[in-house]
Structure formats: C-alpha cells, structure tokens
C-alpha cells in the first residue's frame, strides 16, 4: 500500500520503477509466508526481476520525467479507482477463510490432487502436477498468451526496413 502510493506519486519514473520492484519483492515474502513457495518464486523472478528490467528498458526509449495528467480527468480517475476498490473489498466477504479445510474449494478436487499426485503422475510437487497435467489447458493457453504478447511487442517495436 505504502509502495503503491509512492510509486504513483513519484515524479521520477525511474524511482517509481524501483519502488514497484520493491513492492513485488514484499509481495513475494507474503506468498512465502502463507506457504505458496512456487508463487513466491515466480513473483521474485518475474515481478521484482524481469518486469523491472523491462520497465527500465522502456524508460530508455521514453522520458524519465512524467507529464502532468490533465486536471479534469484526475477526479474521474479517483472516482473510478475508489469504486473499483470498494467493489473488490465487497466481493472478498463470501470468500472462504484462508486455510479452511471445510471450504468448498478445499473439498472439491483439491483432496484428489493432494493425495493422488504421486500415484497418478509420479510428481511429488502437487503444484507442478496441477499446473502441467491436471490443468494442462490453462497452462497451454498461458504460454500462448505470453508468446502472442511477445510477438505483439516485437511487431510494434521492430526495426523499420529502409
């Protein structure tokens, strides 16, 4: 939260990029704290590492200073942000408490994944077997999304033929 405010307020975009990296790293500590080590690992390498560098590379091409936003839009933006924030907090109420073994997500397919992953896929890390095998379609489409975003960025930034 503190990092987010600093990142938005910073006039120097370079500082904002680094604050975002620090934010990502803090989030990874949160993930590690609640036991989601795979997510923490991804957050460190992608959030704190790769995306920071990509932002820096983007700054190379643009200006380090930001221009002031048009004043009329600021109140509209504030209203949209507050509305979305209130809506997000409101929908967290029906979500089951974290780590509750009796909640519907924990009773549906999770027990099978956790108890059968070694017997069915010979893979002790259930995160990997769920990601790559039980939920293979999701990961396939994620990979396609990354690939197509890469192709899109490459096409936009490619060298113009003389």
């Amino acid at each position: 939260m503190v990092f987010a405010v600093i990142a938005v307020r910073a006039a120097d975009l370079l500082a904002a990029v680094f604050v975002l990296g620090a934010y990502s790293f803090t989030m990874s500590l949160v993930w590690a704290g609640i036991g989601a080590v795979d997510v923490a690992f991804t957050e460190v390498v992608v959030g704190a590492g790769a995306s920071t560098v990509l932002f820096l590379a983007a700054l190379l091409r643009t200006s380090r200073r930001r221009s002031a936003p048009p004043s009329g839009l600021r109140w509209v933006a504030l209203g949209v942000v507050v509305a979305v924030g209130v809506a997000l907090v409101a929908v967290t109420r029906p979500i089951a408490p974290w780590g509750d073994p009796g909640s519907p997500p924990s009773r549906h397919v999770s027990p099978r994944y956790i108890t059968q992953t070694v017997a069915e896929t010979a893979t002790p890390n259930a995160v990997t077997s769920v990601l790559a095998d039980y939920r293979g379609y999701d990961t396939l489409i994620e990979t396609v999304v990354i690939f197509s975003s890469g192709v899109g960025g490459w096409l936009l930034l490619r060298r113009r033929q003389p």
Partner: protein, 145 residues
Amino acid sequence: MIERHDSLIVVTFVRVLVPLVQLFALYVLAYGHYGPGGGFQAGVLLAATYILTALALGREAFQRRVNERICMALASGGVLLYLATGLAGMLGASTFLDYSALPLPVSPVKARYFGILFIEIGVAIGVAATLVLLFARLADTEHPR
C-alpha cells in the same frame, strides 16, 4: 543505447554469475517435479542472464549472443513443443493433453511424469525467448521506430 559497464568488478561479477544462474535455471526446470519451480521460472531466469549480459557487457556483446530470428523460432518452438506433447497424447488414442497415453516405453504414470517434463521444457524455451526478444527490441535505441 547500453554501453559496457565501466567497472571491472561489475563486468567480472556478471561473467561469473551468468553461467551459475543458467545452471540454476536448468536445476529449477529439472527439479520442478520435486520442489518449487518449473518451466516458467526457469525461462525467466534464462532470459535474465541474457539481459544481465546486455546491462554489464554492453549492446555489442548482447547482439553477438542473441539472434532475433533464432529467438523468434525458439519462442514459437516452445509453444509448439507444448502443443506437440498434447497432440502426441491423441496419437495414443486418448484425449488432447493426456500424457498417460504418450508413446513412451514406460508405464502410464511415468509417461505423465515425462509429459510434464516436456511441456515444462517447452514453457521454459518459449518464455525465455519471448522475454529476450522483448528486451532486445526495447533496448535497441540505436534504431528508433
């Protein structure tokens, strides 16, 4: 444009660090079945070594090591490897992405183990090549759009 870094310490450190990180990336890829990690993290780590090379050793060193055409081919190849693994399951008279039907000389359970490994390798190659490609285009300020 990114110049070679002035400091000898930085350049030497990166030269030592890059192979170690690449080795670690392979470990993360191979060990994803047993511990945290997998293709995605390994791919990002691999890409990070090339980005580190560019930042410390300069643009020329980066461009000597990275060919954008090959990168694009690898990015597509990674996704295609994933798709091919899924389709190979269909060859074994099963459904798409059912690795237990892969035509491998092992038990169906082990076949799923290897199927996961194949798609993780595909993801790693695809993610690494995509990130390197994006960085190469973004950092190439010699040739602005």
